[in-house]
Amino acid sequence: MRSLARFGLGLILAAILGGPALAQREKKDEDFSKEKPAIGEKLPKVSIFDAAGKEFKTADLRGHYTVLTFGCLT
């Protein structure tokens, strides 16, 4: 189960991006859970970019579990 060892690393990196001490909560988590996309709904199909600037389609996130974490430099 090598893939699971990788997700351990991924979680740590998400923690670095997370930094709740540096961000303020705007809405409660309960509000968020009611918003779309709801649990069970498909991830919206959106075309964005990979790190090299090539097209990246969320519709291609199939065939495996995916963790998406939003973040930015500040």
Binding site: L68, T69, C72
Partner: protein, 347 residues
Amino acid sequence: MKFYFVYKTLAHPELVGSYVQPFTIEERLAHARQADKQLGATVPWIVDAMDNRLKHALGDRPNSEFIIDPKGAVVRKRAWSHPAQVRKDLEELVGKADTFTREENIKLKLEPPLKAPAPRGTMPRLQRPRMQAIVMEPVIEKKGLPFYAKLRVEADGPLINRGEGQLYLGFHLDPFHDAHWNNLTSPLKFELELPKGAKFEKAAGEAAKVKASSDTDPREFLIDVANWPVDLPVKLTVTYSACVGERACHVVEQSYVLRRVRDIDGGGARSDGAGMWKPEEFAKQSLASDKDGDGKLSKSEVRGLMLPHFDDFDANKDGLLDAKEIEEVARWLNTHHAPGVPDKPKK
């Protein structure tokens, strides 16, 4: 299983490294590459489009997190990233990991934020009231020069809601262009083209002259507005001189269209004069994570930027961050210093 960080619009412009909102996808891609270096991450980035479509589609939060199953369905979601909970989620969905890696055991190679190419602190920062970003569209010419200085526009509540209040105009040098003000020429000037019926305290402004030949401080203005009809945009034209290195100096004229509408993607600025951390308050908030009640934070109790820089912040090297050390974290965040390496003004 795959992991992605999604690079989005800045949640807190001007905080740490003086980063400002990018204007083009090329600039946002540069942000993502820099984030890679600063975080030392091996998780790949994907980058939201400049219309912030993925952020909007997934709930408009600064640090939200989703788990998608192999059929493309959202099976877990939360407004704030919570690694420990993600681990539990994945154990439920996929099974337990063969090995368990802890945050404190990972040695990431982190790079500091981009450094300004010229001194800061030569011009006092404008202390502005609580404001929110409003919509601002740069007029980008295909063969034009980069926006070395980027406009940030904010308005107070009364101005946004009723058209009468205060407007902030801040021209911030983008560290990604490595440019500094050329103070040997005329200072930055701007002009506003006001629509019919709009009443602004002034329709033009000029920055104060700075004695130093170069610096990277923002040029800021607060304007009282007596009336700004909501459906009528204001055009702003700015002229400034900036240099990249010692020889590539440009006189730049660039334009923007401003709209009296809150920009939900503008983020909340954090800098001197705008949302700076108060060290004591920051320490108090951080110490809410003190699980063992000893009044200090261990590596297992910190999150975010404090973790990879923990050893630098631990001044007395006791393996713990006390309140005073945490207050120094806030001061570092407020002044964009690399830990232990304070900026020194050039003589």
